[in-house]
């Protein structure tokens, strides 16, 4: 959606048959956003052209309609957003697992996901990444697999068999030569790979290894049954290739808008920063569903975009796509306002309000009142909830309009009393 807007600096004349120079000048002159101007052109074109007078009338009607639907001053937009997202939330399924298109990867959807997003959880329930590839990596399946192997964490059980010989107190690893060559596509000697693996084992477990071909043997320094079993346990967790956090990668061929096809990787588990640096990964499109990782690697503005995208997608997935995107944008704006991601709730936005009464009205009332009393806090009563509590008009909508009375002096017309 975003990239399209950026590349759309075309001339309406070439795109629409019935849009003349005069009509274009009139529509462009109107005080309308690009999106609406395009809609106007589309409709005019569908109708097979209009006269300049009609075009002028259309432009006027559209702009007056547009101005009518704009938010008024002092409108409680936050409250409206809360309701507009909250109501569809009641219709969401409590728990659904599955990701659109990629049935093999489970992703938290529905209400739990929405809660996760506004709570700004440090790690999502089901972290995942969508990894796009560049150039030949996106077209050639072999090359795409190279990237898969450098992302997916490879543990010992995927590479060969592990057996323990209690009599000799050794752990024996029989590596599968074909698997090695497949997973290390850049090396064509299994012996080299095996020695690399032996080194990794030595570093990770602190033992000396003996290797002959693709068989690796090692054992505890002192004969000890317990230590032997412990070594096997530890060996299972050692990551020989790829990124530890990523447990699985699914490769899929997807059709692009222009008809060409490319390979896209979906991962279970995420390590956004590491993946961006991998060769073959398109660092301009790859994303993940962890907004904190996006924030850390791409900055606060990207995090804002990610929050909007994720909330919109979550609602759409549930068939609730008629929620206006402006509500999600407002939520994302508030969450990223201070340069870091803050959650909506008592640990984030609501908890950092200045007003004691506003905080007390939200959650853990007694704690807030008590600590305010201990520290002798004052409340300026300039928010909404505070004024509801004390029974004064709230400072939104008509409640914020104040009348000032005074006499006007006859000579200068200036207010005598201020």
């Amino acid at each position: 959606m975003l990239s399209r807007a950026a590349t759309r600096r075309w001339n309406p004349m070439t795109e629409y048959e019935y849009v003349t120079n005069d009509i274009e000048a009139i529509v462009e002159d109107a005080d309308l956003p690009r999106r609406l101007k395009d809609r106007v052109y589309e409709v005019i074109d569908e109708r097979g052209g209009v006269t300049t007078e009609q075009a002028d009338e259309i432009a006027r009607a559209v702009s007056s309609q547009y101005n009518d639907t704009r938010v008024d001053a002092l409108d409680p937009v936050g409250t409206v957003s809360a309701q507009s997202i909250g109501e569809p939330g009641t219709q969401m399924t409590m728990n659904t697992f599955h990701y659109a298109g990629v049935a093999e990867i489970d992703v938290t959807q529905g209400l739990p996901r929405l809660i996760e997003l506004v709570d700004a959880r440090k790690t999502p329930d089901t972290p995942m990444m969508t990894v796009y590839l560049e150039d030949e990596y996106a077209i050639d399946r072999e090359r795409a697999h190279e990237v898969v192997w450098s992302i997916e964490s490879t543990k010992i059980l995927a590479l060969g068999d592990v057996s323990t010989n209690v009599a000799d107190m050794v752990v024996r690893v029989d590596l599968n030569e074909d698997t090695l060559l497949e997973r290390w596509p850049t090396v064509d000697d299994a012996d080299v790979i095996a020695s690399e693996i032996a080194e990794t084992i030595e570093d990770a477990l602190g033992v000396d290894t003996r290797r002959s071909g693709t068989a690796i043997e090692f054992g505890p320094s002192e004969p000890s049954y317990r230590e032997l079993l412990q070594l096997v346990e530890q060996l299972r967790d050692v990551v020989f290739k790829g990124i530890e956090e990523v447990t699985r990668v699914v490769i899929r061929k997807e059709q692009l808008d222009d008809g060409t096809e490319e390979f896209v990787l979906y991962t279970e588990g995420s390590a956004f920063g590491d993946v961006l640096a991998i060769e073959g990964v398109d660092a301009s499109r790859t994303t993940c569903n962890n907004i904190h990782e996006i924030h850390k690697n791409l900055g606060i503005e990207a995090a804002r975009e990610a929050i909007i995208n994720e909330t919109v997608n979550t609602l759409e997935e549930q068939g609730l796509d008629d929620v206006n995107v402006r509500h999600m944008m407002l939520v994302a704006d508030i969450m990223t306002n201070r340069g870091t991601i803050e959650s909506i709730g008592r640990h984030g936005i609501s908890g950092s309000k200045d007003s004691v009464l506003a905080r007390a009205a939200f959650e853990v009332t007694v704690n807030h009142l008590l600590s305010a009393a201990i520290h002798g806090k004052a409340d300026r009563l300039d928010g909404v909830i505070e004024n509801v509590i004390v029974g004064k008009p709230v400072s939104i909508g008509t409640g914020d309009v104040k009348l000032r009375m005074g006499s006007i002096s006859t000579d200068g017309g200036k207010p005598a009393d201020d």
Binding site: G299, A302, G339
Partner: protein, 76 residues
């Protein structure tokens, strides 16, 4: 390191080194500098030369209009 400005989620960040432009913005919205949304100094998308107290102009590709321009104050 990866050039984050190339990512499609990252809008253009421009450092406003001309103070009069900042003043103009603050006057237009009738706000103080500290009322602006913030951006941390260690934000990966920030131009290298930005220091705390600077104002960054961000040109977003907006969902609801053409482009949306917002400003963020660099903070520690």
């Amino acid at each position: 390191m990866v050039d984050v400005s190339q990512h499609e989620l990252v809008p253009e960040h421009i450092l406003l080194d001309d103070d009069s432009e900042v003043e103009q913005v603050l006057e237009e919205y009738n706000i103080k500098r500290t009322d602006l949304p913030k951006i941390k100094r260690n934000d990966p998308a920030l131009p290298d030369e930005a220091e705390p107290g600077d104002v960054i102009k961000i040109v977003r590709d907006s969902r609801t209009t053409d482009t949306a321009i917002i400003y963020r104050l660099v903070v520690r």
